[in-house]
Subunit: 214 residues, 2 copies
DNA sequence: TAATTGTTGGATGTCGACATTATGCAAAAT
DNA sequence: ATTTTGCATAATGTCGACATCCAACAATTA
């Protein structure tokens, strides 16, 4: 057993992310260090580090000497984030598609199958979100540009699935969601480069627009 | 006159960036908080915040409880960074090229002219680097995705022009550098979308390879 | 009354000190 | 001789307190 002696800062960052995701800290609301410190019974130092981390992730905005707030995403912010995510993911897939083996394609199709199953059993919707993460990670399974993978994740996954968590859960029907990803998987497995690019861009654009519409 | 009461942290971040760029802090070298604190005659707190900022910029690596070091870029890191920068910049230009006015094109050509002039007078090479920054910023002058612009900058400008500063100054002859950018400008002004994309990707790839070759 | 000027409370930025952890070396054991 | 054990040192992580700054309200003036 590997017991983790994690630093306070990173634990706090995770806790605050959860608080934002669950609506305990609402968008635009001020985030006061002393309040969090008291609540977690620790000093302000690790809180500040965690908030700085979240600031660089884009979940929190910071004005020196004035304070930090949970980021309030404008419609353009949301669309822009999804666009950047789409651009990077599409490029990553297209550039690495030549290296895909049969096994790689099977793996992608398996994720789609899981989505269909989840759409049937469908106890909670968050499992669908996990499958979505897995799907997009699988799309980049052969991408050897780790920086691209990281930035794609940072760009849309982090922001949209923390700040827009509740909206996210309602933008598609489970079946529709599975079908959309199946279409993408088919085009990818057919190695139709041109179509992969346009489909992914459109896929993200549509998600962005639906999130904005709420 | 607007006098700026800047926080220590951000000033320190800028100072450390300079130290890295100028080789005072070498790649892979440990960065000790106490040393910097003593040198700047301030406490460790602002130093820590600055180092965290640089960590998120990718200039510094951090291992909890072990310390921070100036990032040592592998060849792949460099190539990956430039690839991501190229992907984003190309997409940003292509998506916004329809909005370009005559004035926008004149502005881009003016930068190229300045490059040619600088190649003649050529007192110091760092002015060429500033023109390079300006050129690529001008390419994205009509891109309304601020997030894309920011991430493109973060991806390659920051890393390459801080960590690879000295190599960067020697990878092209001033004339060759100006000519390359002129070619790009011409294709952009012709609004040849397909070619813009391939040229930019190739441009960055070539820079990356030359930097690696040193 | 409206605008300007103290003033007060609260939050952030910074500090110095302590607690904890990692690394290297020396001593002891097999 | 090699490995293990146990310090000693130095660096980071965390703490509590102070200094500084911002925002809102009260007091003053025109």
């Amino acid at each position: 057993m590997l017991l983790t002696k994690e630093t306070y800062s990173s634990q706090v960052a995770r806790i605050i992310r959860q608080m934002i995701r669950d609506g305990e800290l609402q968008q635009g609301a001020p985030v006061k260090e002393a309040v969090l410190a008291a609540r977690l019974s620790i000093s302000r130092a690790p809180i500040r580090e965690a908030l700085q981390e979240l600031t660089y992730e884009g979940l929190v905005t910071s004005e020196p000497q004035k304070g930090k707030r949970v980021r309030q995403l404008s419609d353009d912010d949301i669309l822009n984030s999804y666009d950047v995510g789409a651009i990077l993911e599409a490029a990553g897939v297209v550039d690495s598609l030549g290296d895909w083996s049969e096994g790689d394609m099977l793996r992608l199709r398996a994720v789609v199958d899981d989505m269909h199953n989840a759409a049937q059993t469908a106890t909670d919707l968050s499992s669908m979100m996990n499958l979505d993460d897995l799907f997009h990670a699988t799309l980049l399974q052969r991408c050897n540009n780790s920086r691209l993978v990281e930035m794609a994740r940072l760009s849309c996954i982090t922001i949209s699935k923390v700040l827009c968590y509740k909206k996210w859960l309602t933008i598609f029907s489970p079946e529709g969601f599975a079908k959309r990803h199946q279409s993408i998987a088919e085009v990818v497995c057919a190695k139709n480069i041109r179509k992969v690019e346009t489909m992914l861009r459109q896929h993200y654009r549509e998600i962005g627009e639906r999130v904005v519409a709420r």
